[in-house]
């Protein structure tokens, strides 16, 4: 048995010994300790004893601890988050329903998809039926003219003129005048310019034509509102005539 007080009276390798035992000594510490060991019986004896202890504790761990399964840790988590608590606290049928949906996301997703499809189908049916009823109404009732043009007041000689077509008429020749519009009372309505004539009901082809004309003839917007709308060529001629008249008037003054 070793004298406990003997060791480390003359040497101070306690910490290095511990580090050396567990293989954590630095290279310098290791070299210093190994050069010290042959000269110090106490350190050599202690190292041997500690090494045996290390093995013994390792045995204890290997034989008694390692075979043990890690215990299943049961953390008392709250049943649900505070947000969920507030919505589910009442225990109503709604909360029960929410719980079912939250438990089966696949099922709820399928149900939502079916609902969207059903609603979409109903909307489509409603649109189709409304279109059919409009068509039937169009055959029985006279069409109401929303924006009467001065073209109706102009004599037949001024024809052909560009006029809006009803929305449900097929996109045909744009120069055909709407026969219904001639039946409306003419002079009492205020005159409108060509831009006002382009109602949302104007067919796309006619609108495109008008746009093209607007780009080609930017002066159209300045034409006299009192003048009836004419064909494209006539409008251009008409503008030039009016300008000539103006210049004449200025000249005479």
């Amino acid at each position: 048995m070793m004298n406990e007080n003997h060791h480390h009276k003359n040497c101070d390798f306690s910490e290095t010994l511990a580090a050396y035992l567990y293989g954590e000594a630095t290279r310098i510490e290791k070299a210093a300790f190994e050069s010290h060991l042959p000269d110090c019986a106490a350190c050599s004896e202690e190292l041997a004893a500690f090494s045996g202890l290390h093995v013994a504790i390792g045995d204890w761990k290997t034989k008694e601890f390692d075979p043990l399964a890690t215990p299943a840790i049961e953390i008392p988590y709250p049943v649900s988050s505070p947000v969920a608590d507030s919505s589910l606290s009442k225990g109503s049928w709604l909360s029960a329903l929410r719980q079912i949906f939250s438990l089966s996301p696949a099922w709820s997703l399928t149900a939502a998809t079916l609902a969207v499809l059903l609603i979409g189908g109903l909307i489509a049916l409603a649109l189709i039926s409304s279109n059919k009823s409009n068509e039937l109404a169009g055959t029985n009732k006279p069409q109401i003219k929303t924006t009467p043009t001065p073209a109706e007041t102009a004599p037949k000689a001024a024809e052909p003129a560009v006029s809006p077509k009803p929305a449900d008429t097929p996109t045909g020749p744009t120069t055909v005048r709407n026969p219904v519009s001639s039946e409306t009372p003419p002079a009492t309505n205020p005159p409108v310019n060509s831009r006002q004539v382009r109602t949302p009901n104007t067919p796309r082809a006619a609108r495109n034509e008008n746009n093209g004309r607007k780009n080609a003839e930017p002066n159209n917007r300045y034409k006299n509102e009192q003048l009836p709308p004419k064909a494209v060529d006539e409008e251009e001629e008409d503008d030039s005539l009016r300008l000539a008249e103006l210049f004449d008037e200025i000249g005479t003054e």
């Binding site: 406990e4 954590e24 008694e64 601890f65 840790i73 505070p82």
Partner: protein
């Protein structure tokens, strides 16, 4: 996603009431904390209770974790405190459970297949003495030797966990080994 987070990030996530984050912390540390508790208490059932209580205590005090120490240090400190509290309670209930050989008989002991009964008995006795010697160490020495031997932590890791200087940890391990040697020599058990 959660697995790539650091312990500290996991705590932050767990504070925001994400149970998965705390579950990941448990998964990372349960074995090591179990080893610490087993080494500190020397009994499986006590160790299991201590691990459970450690993680429950950690979960309940998540909001108090300020990030000044590592999560591992925080968990180890809770575990050591749990073990010490448990030991104190046990000691007040009965004289001591460490010498309770009835309980020692029930402990798991895995002997080599070809060992003779005498050899098995000898090994068993030896382990009992080692366990008793470790459990008789002062708490500050026991925790470092258990961390070293059971958790196989480095001195540096122990130093960080216990917030102690590295030299203090080495010194404590040395002192613990020295005291263990003395205790085992007193029981006339030749360890070496």
């Amino acid at each position: 996603m959660i697995k790539s987070l650091t312990d500290e990030q996991l705590v932050e996530t767990a504070v925001a009431e994400n149970p998965d984050a705390f579950g990941e912390i448990v998964k990372r540390w349960e074995r090591k904390i179990f080893a610490l508790c087993f080494g500190m208490l020397g009994r499986e059932d006590e160790a299991r209770d201590a691990v459970q209580e450690t993680f429950i205590s950690a979960y309940r005090n998540l909001s108090n974790f300020r990030g000044e120490a590592k999560v591992s240090s925080w968990l180890h400190r809770i575990a050591v405190n749990q073990c010490l509290t448990k030991q104190r309670r046990t000691k007040t209930r009965s004289e001591t459970y460490l010498d309770d050989e009835e309980n020692a008989e029930e402990r798991v002991f895995v002997a080599p297949l070809h060992s003779s009964p005498a050899r098995v008995a000898e090994q068993k006795e030896r382990l009992t003495h080692v366990r008793q010697a470790v459990n008789a160490l002062p708490a500050e020495l026991r925790q470092v030797i258990v961390m070293k031997e059971f958790e196989e932590l480095t001195f540096q890791e122990i130093s960080e966990i216990l917030a102690l200087p590295l030299s203090t940890v080495k010194s404590r391990v040395y002192t613990a080994l020295k005291q263990l040697r003395m205790k085992l020599e007193r029981t006339s058990l030749e360890v070496v």
